[in-house]
């Protein structure tokens, strides 16, 4: 035990910051087998592991880590996949420092075990060594489930239910499945080929994925239920991006983070004109917001923009909600921070193109309802920041398409679907929901956790032989 505690946390090699700002390749290279086995030895195999409880999908963390320690990498990946359909994704994008690694006992006296990196290692090893095996699918139960939205929540539901013997069709509005994994999270944080292979795995298990299918416009939820589906899961994700409602927000050059990231990630605008979708690269880019989406947009901008990228955030560095790792990566890549700063208006040229943003300095006052100190403007501290591209990353509202066409599904005042949190059940019989359409704006793993719970409840619902409409 003491021996184990002495091993230092293994460093994961990364692309040099100066080099990587010039490309879209993934930043960390991942562990070698030797590094992974060494890191795995750091796990003290707690009898009552806190890390499992810290994981939204309750992966048996000590078990898969032990398998890595023993050099059984493929077995480790399969162990992971018992509870997590997308380990290669989660190993990269989960905020482990707030989940499993936060409660890791080893971390109490030093640095926690790199659970996320080990997860990534096992999943990558299995995929890269062609060892991915398709689990045996039980005989068809006779039930069919429609999954609306092919993002993390929907793909989790699809994987879980197909393994239980139900037929699953995923309806995806975009031309590629993956949701935020393909349109939102940048290539340098999550290579798209990984998402493709995860989706491919689902297809091989028998999940039917229909792209270009906008439920609510093509078929409504009611039509799905009367056209042969026994139940529906809604995982339509984040919806309409919020803007700040300040002057000049519709100038050319002002993007929502969703648009900016979709153009670059999904449409590959960084390869324009080889790909047809353009993006304004800009000389100076301002990104408004302090979350992970803001960080993704800013680090994307660094790879497109020759001069300067600045994060504008109304609170301080300590309050920045983005992952520490991402902020650190951004800083290494030359990202600038205008903290305690809030935009007042965007200023354009006569052609309607963005030229600058006028901001005001803020100071932190009394704590607000979120418990964070409320930023208050400092009178007379207005100043201008030159920028020709601005990206607004201040969150998303709910997409109205499903509630518009299925009014029985209860939504809250923000338009998010109301569910029973243990089961994902909505107010409409046979209809379940999870992910950002419920939460408003959260993480991949929380959406997957929702999917997991909903899949269990869906399975129970279908097994009762009470499909409602059939």
């Amino acid at each position: 035990m003491k021996e184990r505690m002495k091993i230092p946390r293994q460093r994961m090699p990364e692309q040099d910051p100066k080099v990587r700002v010039g490309n879209f390749y993934e930043v960390p290279y991942g562990f070698t087998p030797e590094e992974a086995m060494k890191e795995a030895q750091r796990c003290i195999q707690c009898k009552t592991p806190l890390c499992v409880g810290g994981c939204p999908v309750n992966i048996d963390i000590p078990w898969f880590i032990r398998l890595i320690e023993e050099g059984k990498f493929v077995e480790a990946a399969r162990k992971l996949k018992e509870t997590n359909g997308l380990p290669a994704v989660c190993g990269r994008v989960c905020p482990q420092e707030d989940q499993c690694e936060k409660v890791c006992v080893v971390g109490k006296k030093g640095e926690p075990v790199s659970i996320g990196r080990l997860e990534r290692f096992a999943a990558d090893y299995e995929r890269e060594h062609g060892e991915v095996s398709i689990p045996e699918i039980p005989r068809w139960t006779g039930k069919k489930v429609a999954v609306v939205g092919g993002g993390p929540a929907g793909l989790t539901v699809a994987g879980d239910l197909i393994k239980k013997g139900h037929k699953v069709t995923v309806f995806e509005a975009l031309h590629t499945p993956g949701g935020v994994l393909v349109y939102g999270i940048p290539e340098f944080r999550l290579p798209k080929k990984i998402v493709e292979s995860e989706v491919d795995y689902l297809r091989k298990m028998g999940v039917d994925i229909q792209c270009n299918a906008v439920v609510g416009k093509l078929e409504t939820i009611d039509e799905l239920l009367s056209n042969g589906f026994d139940a529906v899961f809604i995982g339509t994700g984040a919806g309409l991006p919020y803007f700040m409602n300040i002057p000049g927000e519709n100038l050319a050059g002002v993007y929502s983070a969703n648009e900016y990231l979709t153009r670059v990630n999904l449409m590959k605008a960084y390869q324009f004109p080889e790909y047809d979708t353009p993006i304004m690269r800009g000389r100076r880019v301002a990104v408004v917001g302090g979350g992970n989406t803001a960080m993704d947009a800013a680090r994307t901008a660094l790879r497109l923009c020759p001069e300067e990228v600045t994060i504008i955030y109304r609170r301080g560095m300590e309050e920045l909600p983005a992952r520490v790792e991402e902020v650190h990566h951004g800083e290494e890549e030359g990202l600038k921070f205008a903290l305690l700063t809030n935009p007042l208006r965007f200023i354009g040229d006569p052609e309607g193109r963005l030229r600058a943003v006028e901001c005001i300095r803020m100071e932190l006052g009394e704590p607000d309802e979120s418990g964070r100190r409320r930023p208050v403007p400092i009178k007379g501290s207005e100043f201008c920041l030159d920028c020709d591209v601005a990206v607004i990353a201040v969150g998303n509202g709910a997409n109205p398409l499903i509630p518009q066409t299925t009014p029985e599904i209860k939504v809250n005042k923000w338009g998010n679907i109301v569910i029973d949190t243990d089961t994902g059940k909505t107010s409409k019989t046979g209809v379940f929901a999870g992910g950002d359409i419920v939460r408003g704006g959260a993480t991949v793993i929380l959406a997957m956790g929702d999917g997991r719970r909903a899949a269990n409840a869906l399975h129970e619902y279908l097994a009762k032989g009470n499909p409602g409409v059939s």
């Binding site: 031309h175 299918a213 093509l218 994700g237 929502s256 790909y275 997409n399 398409l401």
Partner: protein
Amino acid sequence: MFEIVEKRHLAHMVNLFSIKAPLIAKKRKAGQFVVLRLNEHGERIPLTIADSNPDEGTISIVVQEVGKTTALLSNMDKGGFIMDVVGPLGKPTHIENYGTAVCVGGGIGTAVTYPIGKALKEAGCEVISIIGSRTKDLLILESEMRSTSSELLITTDDGTYGYHGFVTAVLSEMIAKAKKIDIVFAIGPVPMMRAVSELTRPHGILTMVSLNPIMVDGTGMCGSCRVTIGGKNRFVCVDGPEFDGHEVDFPELIRRNRSYLKEERMAMEEFVYHEGATCCERKET
């Protein structure tokens, strides 16, 4: 993949495509649009559905060559395949028996006016249509528009056909003659929709326009298509595409539509360089 089952040349650089898309054909209503992507490297562009045939499972779109994607599409033929077609998107036109409805179509906007006029006629409206183009050769869907209208007026900017002048002149005359007009639908280039809206505003005639901003996803996720309507930010893809023309900030829409002029020109030049002069415009030059 979506098969092109018919291609019809309508006018100089304007083609009608019928595309096999049975589900969309069954569901679509007047005023709605599709977003399409031609190939793996393609961009997503919105195009309004001009017509549909649910029995044959086809929708039709009218395409004018204005950039690389539309040029590429115009080079495609019957039997070709479009990689992605998604729809029907946007809210359908609100159709009811308004009384007298004037449908104004400018350029290929006529292709959007046509299904609206057709639906209005079916709802019992008296439909008067005014369609205009720069010159006679660019006029489209004349016989289709005639079939949905009790009266069809035609204008050309150069006087080669019909009334010599703009659609607004004809509409203005109609209003001056104290013709009772209950609603106007104006669809065409942004300056035309703006001019029609300005014309009807002092007379208090409800005027609906169909907007054509730059879009990416078309389902409300990206906000690229936002336009100020009555002082509020609205998303054309989910809140529109039709809005009260008297509330639309047209200058803003024009400016936003010009966001990528430089990139569009660059894409076109690169396309011509690689593909050679194959489109009709370049055949002439």
